[in-house]
Subunit: 452 residues, 2 copies
């Protein structure tokens, strides 16, 4: 029998998160205070995050120990499977080997639980009573709701309006875990009311929802804020994915030639690739590393690498990242988790260093790839993950055209069982591609803050 | 770290299905021809099933080898995890150990893929071009659609009307795999048209949908019929669950005192318990074995153990089973997979022999248990599986009240990610309990065929 799943036992759950910062050939640009434009100190972030997470954000330690309580919760679904897509390989008639790391086995259905659990854990330990957050497609909100339910915290979720309307079941899932879910922009916050005054029918965006969640946390001493991507500590928690993948690829006796992840804020991509990039920096890995973003929201391929706000209302620090401008509202593509104007500073930085490359995929191509994958492998990918699938299939077809073997590894970051409305729309022919929204992005970029 | 998952490597996927028939203290009553009331011969079933499956239906072999091609497909998700529900134990403050065998990790989301794959495999080998089937909640239809996609067969699904309307995403999933899905009763068949003539607004039932799917297969030589439960060969394929569980419980160093599964047609229950009952017959297992059915459709606890038809239009053979009468249309509970008037003959027989017992659970209690489970364990169970969860929690609370340890094992047969509408209704307070529909059942029982 051919091996399909390369699984590790529970005691192989990583004991540390891998922090690439000390291994980088040049340091990250520091986050700046939005008012003074001076580098932030830890105390500037204290209203939003517990000190343990702030220290992880700026840590210079290569390895950060995973608390035993967090590993204990990870043990319900980790190590996640590495699966060889043998039926897809046959369907594509390719000499390539295709592997996917499947994060959809988490009870939340995506990689997001990898960071939701430690964030809830450190907050609980610091005495936080409630976490506020944003969610786009709902993967992050579901994961944080679940983690809060496990750890005994309240959870307040601002859900981007377009997803709130498209995905009632996603909301029901969060509510099943006891979370309070509000469509964003909402009338509950100043940020939300300001947007609604100008755009009463606003679809919302991750940038707006972040403003609302941050505002609520800043104003209530019992509430802290939790972010599902972008920040260093969030990406750090995801490195369990890549560490496991390295061990599992060794089990498979294979070495990836190309490593692929979709990118919205950058966390599932970073989780898979950072442990590999650490090796690449040391000359121990030659793989190409490819970030895949939607053509409608191309921050890595068309954005500027500069300081910008993380949110629309400009409540967050300034961070240096690939950005389309914080006032840019991306088109309402179904991959809601990729509708973000910016990109994790760390992902932006490794791209700038030439350690990774970026490509775009159109919405219809992403769904076509998702269906092709599902018919061979059985799993319906989340619309976000379809972008990674499309690139993996493109690489496999290139290998066939060139008649060369190639080992492809991609992150199947989540399943699409809560995204079936988008598949219905795809089958009905009502989904469309979006042209690169040139004018809107130019306007948003023109409004970038000027930082010396 | 406490162990949460008891996992087996890929090479521990069972090599055989366990057939309990030769171990039973008394034989099953034979199926009878619906016209002559004489025992059926294999050739009588040939229009509906390939001969390989017919021979499995009546096999006297204790072990039936699983084809390597089937094991190869199983390898994508099998062996499925056995999980110790430690957070639920803590939440219940019980001395009981609670384990669940989680079949929701299959890409189809339930145990149904365990039999869909071999059924598609044997049909493909026999030259079948298309499979027709019924589905209630959609778990079976999804699994067969996926298996047909893997093996290269067409798939035609008659989906019970009430589920078709309640669960558009379930239908979208089947269509993503290329299946053709029709609401039942439909105008496509004589059986469907006859029902619609009498009940133009019929909600449908599994019995009606079976009639439609059987009729289509009987009339088209290129089409065979596939059933998701009830028949011996279907239950046989599910015994991979119990065989794995026995090995995993040994890994856990624990022995179940009570083994629980929900019952609609009986297949997930049988899959878990038959390997244990084989041991119980030999005196090697003392566990209580409990079937849990919905109060609204109580075939085991309130039905008659007698010959009846498997479908509403009386196209199937007569089988001896616990039945509420083939004309009984169960109330529209959300556990659509449990809305069946009958019960697998094999499950009926082991109950009759005293090897297992049966209890009922009301709809609201089932959902309350599902939410309690989800908040502790993260997984939202399918509404069907909630019945098993409710009984597992009841056993754990009894252990607490008695101050006694107890080891509980139940089958979490599927996740509820396509059933969120029922959770929305539960939270909105619009779900209701159903009284035992005494009059309707009495009428249906009065119409039972008389068999000498």
């Amino acid at each position: 029998m051919e091996t399909i799943q390369y699984n590790l036992p529970q005691d192989r759950i990583p004991r540390v998160w891998y922090n690439i910062l000390p291994d980088l050939p040049s340091p990250l640009a520091p986050p700046l205070h939005p008012g003074t434009h001076q580098p932030l100190g830890p105390e500037d972030l204290a209203p939003l995050f517990p000190m343990s997470l702030i220290l992880q954000e700026v840590s210079a330690e290569r390895e950060i120990e995973i608390p035993e309580e967090v590993r204990q919760i990870y043990a319900q679904w980790r190590p996640s499977p590495l699966i060889r897509a043998r039926r897809l390989e046959k369907a594509l008639d390719t000499p390539a080997h295709i592997y996917y790391k499947y994060e959809g086995v988490s009870p939340a259905g995506s990689h997001k639980l990898n960071t939701a659990v430690p964030q809830a854990f450190y907050n609980k330990k610091a005495g936080t009573k409630r976490l506020s957050t944003e969610t786009g497609a709902g993967q992050w909100g579901s994961a944080l709701s679940m983690a809060c339910s496990f750890l005994g915290l309240e959870c307040k979720v601002y859900m981007v309006r377009v997803s709130y309307d498209q995905k009632p079941y996603r909301r029901a899932l969060m509510e099943a875990f006891g979370a309070s879910v509000t469509a964003s922009p909402s009338t509950e916050t100043e940020s939300g009311r300001a947007i609604l005054a100008e755009h009463p029918n606003s679809n919302g965006s991750l940038g707006i929802a972040i403003s609302e969640a941050v505002e609520v946390a800043a104003k209530d001493p019992n509430t802290k804020y939790a972010l599902g991507s972008v920040l260093n500590h969030v990406l750090l928690h995801q490195t369990v994915i890549g560490q496991e993948a390295i061990e599992q690829m060794a089990l498979a006796g294979d070495e990836p030639d190309v490593i692929i992840g979709c990118t919205g804020g950058g966390s599932n991509f970073a989780g898979l690739v950072m442990p590999y990039l650490g090796r690449k920096i040391k000359g121990q890995c030659q793989a190409r590393v490819v970030a895949v973003e939607p053509a409608a929201c191309p921050s890595l391929t068309k954005g500027r690498f500069t300081y910008d706000f993380g949110d629309t209302a400009h409540l967050t620090p300034l961070v240096k990242m690939h950005t389309l401008g914080s006032t840019f509202i991306p088109p309402g593509i179904h991959a809601g988790g990729l509708r973000y104007h910016g990109m994790a500073p760390l992902v932006s930085h490794v791209l700038d260093l030439g350690l990774a490359e970026a490509v775009t995929v159109q919405q219809l191509d992403a769904f076509a790839a998702g269906i092709q994958f599902a018919r061979a492998e059985g799993i319906i990918p989340a619309p976000e993950a379809n972008h990674a699938v499309a690139q993996a299939i493109a690489e496999a077809l290139r290998a066939r055209a060139e008649g060369k073997p190639r080992t492809i590894l991609f992150n199947l970051s989540g399943h699409g069982y809560f995204d079936m409305q988008s598949y219905i729309a795809y089958h009905a022919g009502t989904l469309e591609n979006y042209e690169y929204p040139e004018e809107e992005i130019a306007m948003a970029l023109a409004g970038l803050p000027s930082v010396e």
